[in-house]
Amino acid sequence: MPTMSGVVTIAQESRFQLTDEKGVSHLFLLSPHALAEDDDLEPLQREQARVRVTYEPARNILGYRARRIERI
């Protein structure tokens, strides 16, 4: 699965925006199979922590489904 690194800049429910090294923002939805909960996203956003997201494409939306999110 592809991965992307960056900073969580917005967190809303299970959705979050990841801004990568080039300053481009991407929208992710947390998969129910991910080892993270919605409540884990807000601290990451507040701390502006660098994370790596493993994701897969999502059908019929402009966004990705995050399967794994980890601090780097």
Partner: protein, 305 residues
């Protein structure tokens, strides 16, 4: 000077365009209402002034970080979102009205006689059927009398989906949880007007205390009647269409100028919970009837033997 005269008194405190902090109780400046817990807030959507710009849809998606969905052309006139869904919490409906024989009229009356546009949203019902159906308590009434799904409690059972008479709630196939408009719960807590109402350029979507909005809406209907639009009526206010079947009233209500079905709204929505007792008793009556019939048949057969 006219502008200054009509300006909210507090607006003079914030004359600079770049602010170093959030304006406290900003909704006073933008919607003329101070947001306080314990009061009932909602939307009054006046469809006669909706221009179909979709600023509300965009503002909702921007604030709530919702992804664009239904990519591609729908083929349904200017409507590319299609319906309310887990990713679309505001939907602008475009209804083209044609004259006799399906031909467009050559002359049109004022106030959207040819095109009907309406920004649909969760109605935040006073007696919310989705909340009544939720087995985990994920759906709850906030301190602002709005209905919100708590994502960490929702187990994705989907009972709220058929319970909603307006087809608002949807379980997302991506995260397996129910999603719908929160009436910008996070913004209300910060003293901000909901994003859709703030972005509406014609004030078709008005935010405020429900009792104030209802009074404003009644005056608008009277005004439209006086201006030669006798078909204008309210949908979702107490005693009006949309507030039927034990719904009491809708916190997000509408001013319409055609039948509700034309706008894809039910003419007489009702709470499914009201059908539980009749369903239960009819089921018990059917079981009792079948038992009695079986008993009669068996006793007759035994007598013959």
């Amino acid at each position: 000077m006219d502008n200054v005269f009509h300006m909210h008194p507090r607006a003079a405190e914030h004359h600079q365009s770049s602010l170093d902090r959030v304006i406290p109780n900003e909704s006073e400046l933008t919607a003329g209402v101070r947001i306080e817990p314990g009061k009932s807030y909602g939307f009054f959507t006046d469809t006669t002034v909706c221009i179909g710009c979709k600023a509300c849809e965009v503002a909702c998606k921007e604030w709530n970080n919702l992804p664009a969905d239904n990519l591609g052309l729908s083929g349904q006139s200017f409507d590319n979102t299609g319906a309310l869904s887990a990713n679309t919490w505001r939907h602008v409906a475009f209804v083209e009205k044609s004259g006799a024989g399906g031909v467009r009229a050559q002359e049109q009356q004022p106030f959207q006689s040819g095109w009907l546009m309406m920004s649909d949203v969760c109605k935040h019902c006073h007696h919310a059927p989705c909340m009544e159906a939720c087995p985990t308590g994920a759906l709850f009434k906030t301190e602002f009398d709005t209905v919100v799904v708590q994502q960490d409690i929702c187990n994705g059972c989907g009972y709220c989906v058929p319970a909603c008479p307006f087809g608002v709630v949807e379980v997302s196939k991506l995260d397996g949880k129910a999603h719908k408009c929160t009436l910008c719960y996070d913004r209300l807590k910060g003293g901000l007007e909901p994003a859709c109402a703030k972005s509406c350029p014609t004030d078709s979507i008005q935010f405020g205390e429900v009792s104030d909005l209802q009074g404003r809406a009644r005056r608008r209907v009277a005004d439209l009647h006086a201006r030669g639009v006798p078909q204008a009526y309210l949908y979702g206010t107490p005693g009006a269409p949309g507030a039927t079947g034990g719904m009491s009233h809708l916190n997000a209500f509408f001013l319409l100028i055609d039948r509700p079905e034309v706008y894809n709204l039910p003419s007489a929505p009702s709470r499914p919970s009201r059908r539980v007792a009749p369903s239960l008793f009819s089921g018990l009556a059917a079981v009792a009837g079948l038992t009695l019939a079986a008993a009669l048949l068996f006793s007759d057969a035994e007598r013959r033997a």
